[in-house]
Amino acid sequence: MTLKIVVLAKQVPDTRHVGKDAMTAEGTVNRAALPAIFNPDDLNALEQALRLKEQNPGSTVSILTMGPPRAGEIIRQGLFRGADDGFLLTDRLFAGADTLATSYALATAIKKIGGVDLVLGGRQAIDGDTAQVGPQVAEKLGMTQVTYAQEILKVEDGKATIRRAIDGGVETVEAPLPLVVTVNGTAAPCRPQNVKLVMKYKYATCPSERPADDPRASLYAERPYLTLTQWSVADVDGDPAQCGFAGSPTRVKSVQNIVFQAKESKTLTASDADVEGLIRELISEKIIG
């Protein structure tokens, strides 16, 4: 069967490689010091989508991302790997969203896209680490959800068979479409960028990414696929009260830098006398038995 697949992909700061300059003196995050990357788990989700597209000729894969205009980069990276098109949700009204307001926005866009059979997301984003957006999008769309997927084994007769990781084990489930699936970072890695696709989509941009008098204006007029869809709250018929900060039930009360209490420690050498001395001390104080 042909499938209409949407992949939820987020642009995130690379928190895995946080250097000393990533935190300001006041203990806040210096986002500028961290490179913005394709959220790792979302690449695993994209790979599952591209495999399904290969197995089901005629299927399409679209990237959906919410973020500032520069998040258009995420769509391009998806196109370079084999996605067909992409949608950028960008609007000041989306800013300050917690997971609930984020899922509202993404769900509204998925409704606007229409006729979607499968929504694939990463299990979690490395900036928030919440793993909440996938299930919340599913709930907002009234769709069935399968989380922690390792592999989508097949999609047939309107049903997907999925292997998922559970605590201390594995499970195989069968779920009807339309379906939201979140994919683990331990699932198959994403294929690399394809040189031909990079050539084709190098200049694909969202309107808001372009300078006022764009030298490539004629190119865009000639090749409509280089203009990526960009939507505001109004474009997706969203309710501003449910978007961004206004639509977020959670508030950050405070943020603190982590300071560990330094202890007064005894420093020993690796000599026999020191090691035996320590062992005797621990035994005599009944710390070890």
Partner: protein, 340 residues
């Protein structure tokens, strides 16, 4: 009304330890707020088997949903149970494990009730909140404290206007203890079909396979942990030898797990297990924030590291400056010599 609820997770008829840890925490929060602690559990053939695993933690009222196809867990039926029960009961707080189940169920329930949810909390407290934006003040909110941004900061999150205030907590972060005070211990068995619509049973579990944990890292009183400085999988064998003589469990840093020295289920830290042993021996571990987050509450910390300036040394009680190759065999030798 406005009580504290804990969703208890099960495997077969066994209640998850993380749920018992949360009951213990939930009891404290309920006492602080002057309300009751309620628990909810759903499964198949659990009536008569789970009550004694839940009530002793100080539960005033337990809702047992026992019905066909409630085990193995699937999202929709369990969501229906919580959403409909919470509409009746109007809890102010709901806690669940930051497990595969809790992180599947929590967001779905919170979205349905439009209430906020905070994942992976490491501390839960009650306190007041002044919203500078609106000028409103709130009393006795749940402070949901969690590491953020890769563990580099700690954020306190509150849900001022929406109920229940929902939070998930990882296994091992809270400590379980049965409750010595008095509690009501009422148990009810609601009719499942009153809560779950027939359409909810859409996901079929074709195969469900869970293995019992191979170790008891979380509950161990001595943990010997190895990091990237152990050098190899063979290097780790030395740790297993040390653990054997000390009757300890073996833990690891993420760098050691990523390097393939050790199984992932032994990882200690923010994204691994949290341990609270009497003695924690860190061998070849530098002590990055995310590792320390999982072991800082150990009573005695011993670091074996060739670098005298390794960050872990700052929080250690004893620092042995030396290579693991030299020191670990000596620890084994002198323990054997001096014990009993």
């Amino acid at each position: 009304m406005n009580n504290v609820f804990v969703y208890c997770e099960i495997e077969g008829t066994v209640v998850a330890e993380v749920s018992q840890e949360l009951l213990t925490k939930g009891r404290k929060l309920a006492d602080r707020l002057g309300v009751e602690l309620h628990a909810v559990v759903a499964g198949t053939g659990i009536k008569g088997a789970v009550e004694s695993q839940i009530l002793p933690y100080g539960v005033d009222k337990l809702f047992v949903f026992d019905g066909k196809d409630l085990f193995p867990y699937t999202s929709a039926p369990h969501t229906d149970i919580l959403v409909n029960l919470f509409k009746e009961e109007q809890p102010q707080i709901c806690l669940m494990g930051a497990t595969v189940i809790g992180r599947d169920l929590g967001p779905r329930v919170s979205s349905s009730l439009t209430s906020g949810l905070t994942a992976d909390c490491t501390q839960l407290e009650i306190g007041d909140f002044d919203d500078v934006k609106t000028g409103k003040s709130y009393k006795d909110l749940l402070y949901q404290i969690r590491p953020a941004f890769g563990g580099n900061i700690v954020a306190t999150i509150v849900n001022p206007d929406h109920r229940p205030q929902m939070a998930t907590v990882r296994s091992g972060v809270m400590q379980k203890a049965t409750y010595a005070g008095s509690y009501r211990g009422e148990v009810v068995y609601p009719e499942v079909s009153q809560y779950v619509s027939p359409e909810a049973y859409v996901v079929k579990v074709l195969d469900h396979h869970v293995e019992a944990a191979k170790h008891n890292l979380k509950g161990a009183s001595i943990v010997v942990s190895g990091g990237y400085g152990m050098g190899s999988k063979e290097g780790f064998d030395m740790l297993f030898d040390l653990a054997k003589v000390l009757h300890a469990e073996v833990g690891a840093s993420r760098a050691a797990v990523d390097a393939g020295f050790c199984d992932a289920d032994r990882q200690v830290g923010q994204t691994g297990v949290t341990v609270h042993p009497k003695v924690y021996i860190a061998c070849g571990i530098s002590g990055q924030i995310q590792h320390i987050a999982g072991m800082q509450d150990s009573s005695i910390i011993i670091s074996v590291n060739s670098d005298p300036d390794a960050p872990i040394n700052k929080i250690a009680d004893y620092v042995i400056v030396g290579t693991v190759e030299e020191v670990i065999p000596k620890l084994i030798k002198y323990y054997r010599k001096n014990s009993k």
